[in-house]
């Protein structure tokens, strides 16, 4: 669905002010988070061969994250904007999903990333921005490799049928997470609204506390507790 949106929106994010920056930053963040998950996988897997594969994959993600975040930093500097946030999400998916589940999730993620980036690369090709097109093309090469090796490993570990099952389970899990994210978004809006009301209702208490309980100054001798 995300690919469909990307196709529909096509040139749009890159035209809307600030949106292209947001997109690059979120790609950088996704790659950086993927890097952490892969390193964690490398640490936890029992097979030395797979460990090397995950580390190699992690190194690629690190490279991509760098590429996205330096492009974002360049754009930010050009526009005189304040620096971006360096948030990273780390959920230790290997520990949560097991090796097979992890591989299925990563395989789907790489496939999805590849499709999204193909759309974006074409957008830049059409606009004549050879540099950004080349950036996506480089990254695409890596993503295709990632997609194929994770697919192969999945079949190797779980068998053909097991692989299909794992991929289906990963798809369901992703859908559920999307649902949870949507729910959380709604809940946060509600929460914010309720808190604003509560704040307003606190006006008398706030003014009272300000008047009769100001913050202490100077040396305090009584023990805190």
């Amino acid at each position: 669905m995300r690919v469909g949106v990307a196709r529909l929106a096509r040139g749009l994010p890159w035209l809307l002010p600030g949106r292209d920056l947001h997109l690059l930053s979120s790609f950088a963040r996704a790659e950086a988070s993927s890097l952490l998950d892969l390193l964690a996988a490398a640490r936890q897997t029992t097979s030395p061969e797979r460990r090397a594969l995950y580390v190699q994959h992690a190194l690629d993600e690190a490279k991509h994250a760098r590429m996205f975040s330096s492009r974002a930093a360049q754009l930010r500097a050009e526009r005189g904007l304040v620096g971006g946030d360096e948030r990273v999400d780390f959920e230790d998916l290997f520990a949560r999903l097991g090796e097979v589940g992890f591989l299925a999730f990563v395989h789907r993620g790489e496939a999805r990333g590849r499709r999204q980036f193909e759309v974006h690369r074409d957008t830049f090709a059409r606009r004549g921005d050879a540099r950004t097109e080349a950036m996506f093309e480089t990254i695409l090469g890596d993503e295709r490799r990632h997609e194929s090796y994770t697919g192969e490993l999945l079949v190797e570990l779980a068998g053909k049928r097991g692989a299909k099952k794992a991929l289906r389970r990963a798809a369901w899990w992703e859908a559920w997470r999307l649902w949870r994210r949507a729910g959380r978004f709604v809940a946060q809006l509600l929460f914010w609204a309720v808190m604003m009301l509560a704040f307003v209702a606190l006006t008398p208490l706030g003014l009272l506390v300000r008047a009769v309980m100001p913050a202490p100054r100077g040396w305090l001798r009584e023990p805190p507790r």
Binding site: D85, R87, D89, R180, G183, R184, V186, A187, Q188, L190, F191, V194, M195, A198, L202, L205, R225
Partner: protein
């Protein structure tokens, strides 16, 4: 997630506030908790926006 544990925590919070004689905070906490339950219900605040300095 242990409900009993969580209730005990609330009890400890209340006795702390009582010991420190901040009774006016007790109803405030209750009201806010009710508001907070909205978030808890949908999986909670596992990710909170980044603070410049983790004070709160």
């Amino acid at each position: 997630m242990s409900l009993v544990g969580r209730l005990r925590t609330l009890g400890e919070l209340m006795s702390h506030l009582a010991r420190r004689q901040r009774f006016f905070l007790v109803p405030l906490v209750v009201v806010l908790l009710v508001g907070g339950l909205l978030l808890l219900a949908t999986g909670g605040l596992s990710y909170v926006a980044p603070f410049l300095y983790a004070l709160f």
